[in-house]
């Protein structure tokens, strides 16, 4: 009782002192007409403490960058892969060596053979007029052009060649490139940029795939040469997509597919393109100088006016028996490439003698259109003769100068297929002196079409050449594929 009393007294004293403090003149200040009570001070202090805590940064463990010693250790430990894989046992890299011009008859590894491995469709290898024009060019201009087109590498034969090709096809202008495959993989990135839509056939060859990859556009593939698949892809891409009308859209096809020998149905493609408002890029390397009544390509073959195809590219290393490539289209298309196509601007121009060979080849085609009917009858004869080859079937179009034979029954693994086909071609060369080749693929190629034997028919072949080939092929494939 005695202790309680002073405690109670002390508590009461503290309480009176605290309430006195609250009632002190400071606590009873009037700020802006608002009466401030003491408890507001306490609340203000609490709010200040809360705000202070919120503004403090949360605790993060301190970031320690790697020390020089640690970087040294990491660099010492790191082991790179070898630059290339070791040589596999039994890998074949020896290709047959030619010792004369690659015409219909040539000398391979010392003996005379019938040559079905060169895309010499019009038989222009060894043509006297072309060789004479080349000799004239060599004596006047030398071999190389020693500079890109922008820096004194434009020689008058280049301008003549561009005008000649544009005249032949019926387009306003054309542009020359110095290498066949660089044409398409420079043209596509010049026109298709990031954000554009490209619909391409899944069987296009590597150069087209590279161009599509470098363009950084969205690429959608449709089933090989299947127009229904193309129509449904186009429909899917444009239906309900309002934005699709503002971005550029392209369809990329080849006229004659190198990987299968099929021919693209251009009239159907043009109809679809006009319906869905796409532009067409047509790769005509193997059909220029071959299809059409006078050799003007796929558009003439189908009777489509050439203006409907926006961009046509072709390599000249096939029917025209020279090297390089060209691209043609409207004036705007061609002019745009002169500054923004990397394979044109940053590379040396085509050697002048090859450009004059191209001019002579186009002249020859204009003057001798009968060479096309010879080619066509050779192709028809080849189809007739090879239609009953044991174990192999023709999977290319009846009009295509590339006759593609694939195995009737694939063994299931591409390597064994390739081995079988290579055995056939080697035996045909060794036993019957006929030079044929299989279609080869690089591991960078994404095309999934099956491989096979690829025969290039030329107008320079005679009927007896074709009979020799068919007899030999039937005999060898019967023996190789039966066991």
């Amino acid at each position: 009782m005695d202790m309680a009393f002073p405690v109670a007294n002390a508590t009461a004293a503290v309480l009176t002192r605290v309430s006195a403090a609250f009632n002190a003149p400071l606590a009873r200040a009037v700020v802006f007409g608002v009466h401030i009570d003491g408890h507001l001070v306490v609340e203000g202090l609490l709010i200040a403490v809360i705000v202070f805590q919120l503004t403090r940064k949360s605790y993060k463990p301190p970031k320690k960058p790697l020390t020089e010693k640690e970087i040294d250790e990491l660099c010492n430990e790191w082991q790179p892969e070898p630059l290339c894989p070791p040589i596999k046992e039994g890998a074949r890299i020896d290709t047959p060596m030619l010792e004369s011009a690659a015409g219909p008859h040539t000398i391979v590894d010392g003996k005379e053979v019938v040559n079905f491995a060169s895309a010499n469709y019009l038989g222009l290898i060894g043509n006297e007029k072309i060789i004479d024009s080349c000799v004239g060019s060599l004596e006047k201009y030398g071999v190389g052009s020693c500079g890109p087109r922008g820096f004194y590498g434009t020689i008058d034969v280049h301008l003549d060649c561009e005008a000649k090709i544009a005249n032949f096809l019926g387009t306003p202008d054309s542009i020359l490139y110095s290498y066949g495959i660089s044409t398409i993989f420079s043209v596509i990135p010049a026109f298709c940029k990031k954000g554009d839509i490209i619909v391409a056939d899944e069987g296009v060859h590597w150069a087209v795939q590279n161009g599509l990859h470098l363009s950084r556009s969205t690429v959608v593939y449709f089933k090989h040469n299947d127009m229904a698949s193309l129509a449904s892809t186009l429909e899917k891409l444009t239906r309900g997509n309002k934005r699709a009308e503002k971005i550029r859209r392209y369809i990329v096809v080849e006229s004659i597919y190198q990987n299968s020998g099929q021919i693209a149905p251009l009239d159907e493609i043009v109809r679809l393109k006009e319906e869905y408002r796409f532009r067409v890029i047509l790769e005509e390397s193997h059909s220029f100088g071959v299809l059409g009544k006078s050799g003007r390509g796929l558009a003439e073959h189908y009777g489509v006016p050439i203006e409907k195809i926006d961009i046509i590219t072709a390599g000249m290393g096939n029917a025209l028996a020279t090297d390089g490539g060209f691209c043609t289209g409207s004036v705007r298309v061609v002019d745009h490439q002169r500054l923004s196509s990397s394979g044109y601007v940053f590379s040396a121009s085509l050697p002048p003698y090859l450009a004059s060979a191209a001019v002579s080849a186009v002249n020859y085609l204009e003057e001798n259109p009968t060479v096309l009917s010879t080619l066509r009858s050779n192709i028809a004869l080849m189809h007739k003769e090879l239609s009953d080859t044991p174990g192999l079937e023709i999977s290319s179009h009846v009009l295509s100068p590339i006759v593609f034979l694939k195995l009737k029954k694939s063994t299931g693994s591409p390597t064994t297929d390739l081995d079988l086909l290579e055995t056939i071609t080697e035996r045909v060369l060794k036993e019957d002196s006929v030079f044929i080749v299989t279609s080869k693929k690089s591991n960078l190629d994404r095309c999934k079409l099956p491989i096979g034997i690829r025969l290039f028919v030329s107008a320079g072949h005679t009927e007896s050449d074709i009979f020799t080939l068919s007899n030999s092929l039937k005999r060898v494939s019967a023996s190789v594929l039966s066991d």
Binding site: D156, Y179, F456
Partner: protein, 490 residues
């Protein structure tokens, strides 16, 4: 490196600003006028070039179009016939005439003088043309492999000093198709900031990550290497599968040599592979013409992959890669340009074989050694004289490529047209091949230029330089060798 004075930078920026402003103004009025006319674009199709993408082409480049793409009517030798052209609508369209004017050629890549018909090479080329015809129409792995191709691969490997080589038909395609065959996703490519467009394309096409180091700055290269190896791939931090460092022998827009010995030592220390692009340096520099390794005393075995082209010093076309036997074997199986592209034209192959034989002296004369000495002497003489005249010349000694700085966009056409009027064919380069402010004129010296040609060239360049006002440095007064004194020395 280029030292850009402030006053020049300001005036150049001002000029470009004025040109852009006028260009936009014209575009604005053109849009108003065109909106009244019916449109010529195909209806509902997005235009091939959106308005701003070709702004530079339409408004800036087209006005000076006549300085570019000049056609010639003769071989690209020391003297050429430049075809005269005219335009009726302010350079929008240019037409050819049949008149030509004979000009001194300071623009073509003809370092050893093999561009025109040569007494040893041309008869052999014509013979091979008659034997093999202009093209094989076939890819190398099918039916395009002739005896000439195999001979040239062995000869190139011997010339460069490597065990084996592979041949391709185009220099640009060599870089763009070989780099994807060597490295893929998960690898790292470290390339010099001023590398050529073909290397950039090849690196992009390969799928590997690309990092850039400052031009010729070895300390920065080492820093980038250390950082990348320590950090690994972005986000996953897995180690890189391999690292390739790509440098060039002579950089064509700077005329500089690369610091090859230092690059090799850094790469060896960090176990990175080296890829040397000798497009401009093979055949043109070095005591026996074997390129930058010869000049700087580097053993070819230390460089993993050596690439080069035949367009510049050998007067032909095409490219090669020289490396160890395993790498070449691997490339022959996988390189797309080897498997899918028409093989190199046989007469062009023969031209390279004959040119290399001349350079090595295997044709029985010493013309090769004379040509190499001549180009070295010509380049050093020309460069020192230009510097004495007060021009700002880039590049190292012994390099046959000499850029002269112009900077201002108005000086580009004035210099080029003035030189052409005085019968010298010079090359001017601007954006996008060079940075926007650093436009230049580029001189390429050849072994077929004689001393009189060079003196005439110097005289014309001096006059054109005075008119355009590009002598940014003071003329050396004491040791000025005036043109008259030079003529007297002759």
């Amino acid at each position: 490196m280029v030292r850009l004075p402030y006053s020049t930078a300001l005036t150049t920026l001002f000029s470009y600003g004025l040109l852009f402003a006028f260009g936009h103004l014209r575009d604005f009025f053109r849009r108003i006028i065109d909106s009244r006319k019916p449109t010529t674009n195909l209806k509902d199709y997005a235009p091939i070039c959106l308005g701003h993408e070709d702004f530079y082409t339409r408004r800036l480049f087209n006005r000076v179009q006549d300085c570019c793409n000049r056609p010639i009517a003769s071989a690209p030798d020391a003297w050429i016939d430049v075809i005269e052209r005219y335009s009726n609508d302010g350079n929008k369209t240019i037409h050819r005439t049949s008149k030509t004017s004979r000009c001194l050629n300071l623009g073509s890549y003809n370092y050893l003088g093999f561009a025109a018909a040569d007494e040893y090479c041309t008869p052999r080329v014509i013979e091979s043309l008659k034997k093999y015809s202009a093209s094989t129409c076939s890819v190398r792995v099918d039916g395009g492999n002739t005896k000439l191709h195999i001979e040239l691969e062995e000869l190139v490997a011997r010339f460069v000093g490597k065990p084996a080589a592979i041949l391709l038909g185009m220099g640009y395609a060599t870089n763009s198709t070989i780099i994807p065959a060597l490295i893929g996703k998960g690898g790292l490519i470290i390339s010099d900031s001023l590398n050529h467009n073909s290397i950039v394309n090849g690196a992009r096409g390969s799928g590997a990550a690309v990092r850039v180091f400052q031009h010729n700055n070895i300390a920065h290269l080492e820093e980038v290497l250390r950082e990348q190896i320590a950090q690994g791939q972005p986000r996953t931090h897995r180690p890189w599968s391999k690292i390739i460092v790509i440098v060039e022998g002579i950089y064509s827009m700077e005329g500089e040599l690369c610091k090859l010995p230092e690059v090799i030592s850094v790469c060896k220390k960090y176990k990175a592979y080296t890829y040397l692009d000798e497009a401009h340096s093979i055949g043109a520099i070095g005591k026996s013409g074997r390129g930058v390794c010869d000049l700087l005393g580097v053993d070819p075995a230390d460089v993993d992959i050596m690439m080069g082209t035949f367009t510049k010093s050998f007067g032909s076309c095409g490219g090669y890669i020289a490396a160890s036997k395993e790498i070449i074997h691997h490339l022959k199986q996988t390189c797309p340009a080897h498997i899918y592209a028409t093989s190199m034209s046989p007469p062009a192959v023969q031209q390279v074989i004959s040119a290399i034989k001349v350079i090595l002296g295997e044709d029985g004369t010493n013309r090769g050694a004379k040509k190499l000495a001549q180009i070295r002497e010509n380049s050093n003489f020309f460069r020192s004289e230009l510097k004495k005249m007060g021009f700002e010349v880039l590049g190292d000694n012994n390099s046959p490529v000499m850029p002269i700085m112009l900077y201002n966009p108005a000086k580009i056409p004035s210099f080029s047209r003035e030189c052409l009027r005085l019968n010298v064919a010079a090359v001017v380069v601007a954006f996008p091949a060079t940075p926007l402010l650093l436009s230049r004129a580029r001189i390429c010296i050849s072994a077929s230029h004689s001393r009189e040609d060079l003196i005439k060239g110097l005289e014309v360049l001096s006059k054109a330089g005075d008119i355009s006002g590009i002598k940014y440095f003071p003329v050396e007064q004491e040791k000025t060798t005036s043109v008259e004194k030079l003529k007297k020395i002759q």
